[in-house]
């Protein structure tokens, strides 16, 4: 995988998650690592879980609900995906 270790906004995982969030981003908020998924995007916690399910299927990994509840920002979510990809992939 070419995208490991790059934790910036040109990171492939980051971009993929952004693409999955796009349909929910009704306010057109600019997606950065710092945005708070629930507060800034105004999407509910269940929708976050559903986006995560898409991420799981895209990367063939499982992201525990416990992990998701510990992530607030987009950057934290992306980092969690990287960590899980490393351990499960």
């Amino acid at each position: 995988m070419a995208d490991q270790g790059i934790h910036g906004e040109d990171d492939l995982v980051f971009r993929r998650v952004c693409a999955l969030l796009d349909p929910l981003n009704h306010k057109g908020v600019r997606l950065t690592r710092d945005i708070d998924l629930v507060a800034d995007l105004e999407i509910d916690s269940v929708s976050v879980l559903d986006v995560v399910m898409d991420v799981e299927d895209a990367y063939d990994i499982s992201i525990p609900v416990n992990t998701i509840s510990e992530t607030k920002t987009l950057g934290e979510l992306v980092d969690a995906i990287h960590a899980i990809k490393k351990s499960q992939g």
Partner: protein
Amino acid sequence: MSLFEKFEKTAALYNGLSEMGKNPFAVVMEEVLGPTRALIKGRETVLAGTHNYLGQTFEPKAIAAAKRALDEEGTGTTGSRFANGTFAGHKSLERALADFLGMKYCVVFSTGFVANLGAIAGLLDPAEDVVLIDADCHACIYDGCQLSGAETIRFRHNDPESLDKRLGRLDPKYKGKLVCIEGMYSMYGDIAPVKEFVEVAHRHGAYLLVDEAHSFGVYGEKGRGVAEAEGVMDKIDFYSGTFSKALAAIGGFVASNHPQAEYLRFSSRPYKFTASPSPATIASAHAALDNIAATPALRAKLWDNANRLHAALTQYGLRLAAPPAPVISVLLPTKEEAFAAWNFLIDQGVYVNMAIPPGTPGKESLLRLAVSSAHTNDDIDRLVAAYGAMAEAFPSARVAYAS
């Protein structure tokens, strides 16, 4: 004041509803007139948003049994099942439930919510077990997982393949694996492919828990639930249920063929540290259970009513969430329209439930009608007329609008 700050947005929404119309989340049944009627805002209303599936709320045998228990055993047990709160009635109801289900063991809890908390948190070790749950599982299953502290993984709703993938890629470090699904899901009234889930779970060495809160008494030849209808009653590992719907009381239970289910009596904090159901509650639940077991006609009537209503709503072109079931939900695109449509129905003298995201499976809002065997022809006629008028007034509730 930071303790309250987080509520302000929701409080504004909640209070706003009352200003815009009648608030579906602040309904008071001012006077209960029977199993399917009550006074709401002074008006006689047909109740189609209760879970009185088999109409047992006024069953004379259940009322008589509860009165007798009150007279003979008092108002409450004043203690938990683990300590002083187990009476002969609790034990005999456990036996009767196990027999009704054709399972060997049964543990009664104080509510269905607590039964799921108790089973899930009681079974799982946070250090070495993992739990996989259907994405649309009820809040109490989510909370049970959280309480257990074990790793929790969601799979796509009613999708055995999605479960298969997630079980397949689990780290071998996990010792115990538990899968949780429901029989009939309460929001859409859709049914789980329990047989396929049994196959997938067992192939991976996982245990399967099926919450039949809404399907107990309602599905299957003997009323044992969706697992019975699917022919796999003897294959599921844990069966959870509630007294609050078909049995029209309050309480819950977990049944199993594993003798170790009895371990919940000491491993489950929600069993040990809350008061047990009162004697009258146990007595009415037991009498209702005997009654529904002896009266399959109740189930037949429920299904007649459900089929009739589903056909009528389909005819009106309303967009329904699932095939005929005791829960019939109409989908609406927005919260605002759902709220207006709910108000429209209540003004017609019909009470149903309104559900909005994130409490719903998808992005849509819904009006949820729960059918009862006690709905009379007159009740059904009124429901059909009110929904017909609603279909006229709310084109967005119709199939034609969505497509």
